[in-house]
Amino acid sequence: MPSEKEQVLEFLTGKTGKSKFYFSDFCKIFPDKKQREVKKVLTELVNEGKLEFWSSGSTTMYGMTGAGKQKAEED
């Protein structure tokens, strides 16, 4: 059984076409978990530098660090 963090990373790498996800997308990986627990997993991954936030200003999404085309524009 992969760890919770591995499951999140697997989900992010497995999906094609998308680089950014809503918080609720991650809750679907762990249907039995409370949102607060899912949030803890994501926060740890952010703190480890593996995930990063993406924000339009009004909504926030999560993605793998460095993924997506936005990154190239920001460097």
Partner: protein, 437 residues
């Protein structure tokens, strides 16, 4: 000589009001002259290019900003809003023009030293342009580049003891009126509640996991100086339970013209002699006041605490002694379904440290909304979609008459079968014996 010709913007300066165009021009000139010898960390002509790109947008009738991005400080999901110009070659000074939101102090009290401290950081590392205050209440610093973000964050937290504010799908910077620090109408300590909840909910503020934004606002009384009922998902509005206190001698003094009505406001023209019946009694929205020529009476059971009589005669009429707050839920701006004001959820709560009762309501709402809310759905929309009754259920609040917004048109509280003695089942045959078809 201005860097860009801005005839359309210049026109905005000709109106009767102070113009933001003049402000930006002033900052552009100041940065070009640099009298304090600041070692600017972002392009000096950032304000000039801002004028340039705005002029172009006016001409093209299209925005030249791209919105959003990964910008932010490490570990924070909000507080910085990425903004990029789509004409970076024409306007290199605003190629990056990120907004930084800082949490404002409760009640927006500043010392001159504090403001200078913020501006020293912002002149050095940003455009020098600010917006005091954004709609949520934050100190809004307008325009900096990605490499400056961590530096600004370090400086404001270490030198100014100030944190980033909220943005994105999280708790936004809570805002309050100045409350009991200066205002005799305040029914609870707005500043303490605002400050306490801001500290207690740091995780919700900085690490977004909500379907959309969520705002708290705290008004000390129904005058609503921070407009919580219109501008926050969770509105806390001071109120009282006991009778309005009336000093009859002072009422007479108002009538005799010894006190100025409304604390002397609207004095710009002569309104004639103060008429208590016309200006106070007849203006009471529930008609619960009367004045017999000597004594002012209030039928308190019918007072909706609109504040009108208190605002007009503050020296004679005061809020009741047993104070607390009402909690309302669900205001939002008109993206979906039009604008919406908050709906009354808790008619009265005593506002006392450590505010456990209020926090319980908040956390029950969050648990429900995080579970049931759709992406980009405000809690007011979730409430409308799933019913107010559902909200009462998840917050363990019993339906009461105050919840009914429009009796007889659409009372949106419904009974459930198990709440009705005998249930909904009835004997059709026996009924038909008593009632013909």
């Amino acid at each position: 000589m201005a860097k860009h010709q801005t005839p359309l913007l210049d026109q905005l300066e000709t109106g009767p009001w102070p113009s933001f165009v003049s402000d930006i021009k002033q900052e552009a000139a100041h940065r070009a002259a640099n009298p304090d010898g600041v070692d600017y960390q972002i392009p000096v002509d950032c304000p000039s290019d801002l004028l340039g790109v705005l002029e172009l947008s006016f001409k093209d009738k299209e925005t030249h900003w791209k919105h959003g991005g990964i910008v932010g400080v490490f570990g924070y999901g909000g507080g910085v809003i990425g903004r990029y110009c789509d004409q970076p070659e024409m306007f290199p000074g605003v190629a990056h023009f990120h907004t930084v939101r800082l949490a404002q102090p409760s009640g927006k009290y500043y010392t001159a030293d504090y403001l200078r401290g913020i501006m020293d950081i912002w002149d050095l590392r940003g455009s020098g342009l600010t917006n005091m205050h954004g709609s949520t209440g934050d100190i809004v610093l307008l325009g900096t580049t990605t490499p400056q973000l961590e530096e600004i964050f370090f400086d404001v937290t270490h030198k100014m003891n100030t944190d980033l504010g909220g943005s994105g799908g999280n708790l936004r910077t809570p805002a309050d009126c100045l409350g009991q620090s200066r205002c005799e109408f305040a029914c609870y300590d707005t500043q303490d509640l605002c400050h306490t909840l801001t500290n207690d909910y740091q995780d919700e503020l900085h690490r977004p996991a909500f379907p959309y934004k969520f705002k708290f606002k705290f008004d000390g009384c129904p005058n609503g100086c921070v407009a919580s009922i219109a501008r926050s998902d969770f509105s806390v509005i001071g109120t009282w339970k006991s009778d309005i206190r009336i000093d009859q001698d002072r009422v007479k003094a108002y009538v005799a013209g010894e006190f100025k009505p409304g604390g002397g406001s609207h004095a710009g023209r002569d309104w004639g002699k103060f008429d208590i019946v016309k200006e106070v009694v007849d203006r009471c929205p529930t008609g619960c006041m009367s004045y017999d020529g000597a004594k002012l009476s209030i039928d308190n059971a019918n007072c909706t605490r609109c504040m009108h009589c208190i605002n007009t005669m503050p020296a004679a009429v005061k809020i009741g002694e047993e104070t607390g707050a009402s909690i309302l839920l669900g205001a939002k701006a008109p993206i979906l379904d039009g604008a919406q004001m908050s709906s009354l959820l808790v008619p009265f709560v005593v506002v006392e440290k450590p505010y456990d009762e209020i926090k319980e309501v908040i956390e029950n709402i969050w648990d429900w909304w995080m579970e049931e809310g759709k992406n980009r759905e405000r809690v007011g929309e979730t409430m409308k979609r799933l019913s107010f009754q559902k909200l009462l259920e998840v917050t363990n609040i019993k339906a009461m008459p105050q919840h009914v917004k429009e009796p007889r048109s659409n009372p949106y509280i419904f009974f459930k079968e198990e709440e009705v003695p005998g249930g909904f089942e009835h004997d059709e045959a026996a009924y038909r014996q008593r009632h013909m078809r």
